[in-house]
């Protein structure tokens, strides 16, 4: 493993994308990044711009008005990137998702719009579960590097 691959595992930066919903998962996500668990020990940092991020944390179900923003934020995260969906809504739309008749306001989970790599179910998931999800994301990020390389060139 080269130093660049190591650096990718050693310094995953998170961007927190709140798609919509009740804020419960956002509170738990921020709780997972607080001094009690302190992921900065392992170089995990919350960044403010999607352009700085490696891991996109998506919480909540997507309202229809928010569809372009979700797509845009996903595209702004530079490759290689991983999406971690946190909470029941982000995993499958939960009680807001309705196929027929269609919910007039809510589209459903973000994986209908963007490829999601890791799902962390729960309403809301505990910080331990979220950290576990982020760790799974880091492992995927490490594996993703070689697969992503040829598509970048084209």
């Amino acid at each position: 493993m080269g130093i660049m691959d190591k650096a990718r595992i050693y310094s995953p930066w998170l961007y927190h994308l709140h798609c919509g919903g009740c804020n419960g998962c956002d509170i738990e996500t921020l709780a997972a990044l607080d001094p009690r668990w302190d992921p900065e020990r392992f170089g995990i940092q919350l960044v403010a711009s999607p352009r700085h991020a490696d891991i996109l944390i998506a919480t909540g179900c997507v309202p229809k008005q928010f569809i372009p923003m979700v797509k845009r934020v996903y595209e702004q995260v530079p490759e290689p990137k991983v999406v971690v969906a946190i909470g029941g809504c982000a995993c499958g739309g939960s009680l807001f998702y309705n196929e027929d008749p269609d919910n007039y306001a809510i589209l459903g989970s973000p994986d209908l719009l963007i490829p999601v790599d890791v799902y962390v179910p729960g309403c809301a998931p505990k910080p331990e579960a979220i950290i576990n999800g982020i760790v799974q994301g880091i492992l995927k990020l490490a594996a993703k590097k070689k697969a992503a390389a040829p598509t970048q060139k084209s």
């Binding site: 660049m4 050693y10 930066w13 020990r41 352009r51 700085h52 702004q76 530079p78």
Partner: protein, 325 residues
């Protein structure tokens, strides 16, 4: 000829030394602020069961961040002024990088023996911040523009203090060569003119965007301020510039105010202690203060820079005319 060769060799050796010093300063800053906040911070010795996956130590965490950024895709927004947008991170990095050669290290004069090295170093340190502002202003992002505007407002104040602090020391020492100032016999300038030291410290917290004055970068408030549109290797260059700037500012403080400590390499332990003390005070500033509003920061910062600037100038008059140095 031998002198030139020696200078060239020391300059080559200085590049990795300054890089690792800058990285370690950033690490120490992060670790100390973490400890102040009852966190662990980047771990020095990794937990045994995690070590195979996560590495033995995170002392080089800032370096890993930079390397990772260099390995990522680099987005350039369509609405930006592409030439300036792409050139500014390189120029900011080059300015911060070149400044290391004009600031002496214990026993290593480098290019600081030049007659106007103080002026050159000050211009390079201005450039490092100025190109950050330029890049943000050309990014086409409203958040970048707001960040650039805030940066300029603080920039105007601390550059005033920077010039006063630098030239007050130059006036008392009777030289603009940093090497002559740094190896001056007699009492260190920290004791002769403590106001100038406080002034330069205020400048350092402004220049490095330490907490009460970090509203330019104001994370989450205006996205990431000047760095909003930067990603990948350009952000890596800015981070690298920041590491070098950290080294530059701390080294400049020691060169100006702790006069004989740079005479020989044997002073290295004292130099390291001085570095740790300065970083400790910088971290205390960071953790004690919340972020100021821009207007309040202007009045607070302006007031203290003015007070210490005037005190410094008066002290210089006293020292220059009534004190045989």
């Amino acid at each position: 000829m031998v002198d030139m060769l020696f200078t060239a060799v020391t300059m080559l050796i200085m590049i990795p030394v300054a890089l690792f010093a800058g990285i370690l300063y950033v690490f120490l800053f992060r670790k100390l602020s973490a400890r102040f906040q009852w966190r662990v911070g980047p771990v020095v010795s990794m937990y045994k069961d995690l070590a195979p996956l996560l590495g033995a130590s995170r002392i080089l965490q800032p370096l890993y961040d930079i390397l990772k950024l260099f390995g990522k895709d680099t987005p350039v927004p369509d609405i930006s002024r592409k030439t300036i947008f792409i050139a500014s991170p390189y120029l900011a990095f080059i300015c911060a990088f070149l400044a290391i050669f004009f600031i002496p290290f214990p026993g290593v004069p480098l290019l600081s023996t030049m007659e106007e090295s103080l002026v050159i170093a000050s211009y390079l340190l201005i450039g490092a911040v100025m190109f950050t502002i330029l890049g943000a202003a050309s990014s086409g992002s409203p958040w970048g523009a707001i960040g650039a505007r805030r940066d300029i407002e603080i920039f105007l104040i601390y550059e005033l203090g920077f010039v006063v602090a630098l030239f007050s020391v130059g006036l008392v020492a009777g030289s603009l060569s940093l090497w002559e100032i740094a190896t001056r016999p007699g009492l260190p300038m920290l004791i002769l003119n403590p106001f100038a030291a406080v002034l330069l410290f205020l400048v350092i917290i402004g220049k490095l965007a330490i907490k009460p004055l970090d509203m330019a970068e104001a994370e989450a408030e205006i996205v990431a301020g000047p760095f909003t549109e930067y990603g990948g290797k350009y952000l890596g260059l800015f981070q690298l510039a920041k590491a070098f700037l950290f080294y530059d500012m701390v080294a400049l403080f020691i060169a100006l105010f702790l006069a004989p400590t740079l005479n020989s390499i044997l002073w290295l332990p004292v130099y390291i202690i001085a570095v740790v003390v300065i970083l400790f005070f910088i971290t205390v500033m960071q953790v004690l203060h919340p972020r100021f509003q821009i207007a309040k920061a202007m009045s607070w910062y302006g007031r203290w820079v003015l007070v210490f600037g005037v005190l410094t100038a008066m002290m210089v008059l006293v020292l220059r005319f009534y004190w045989v140095v």
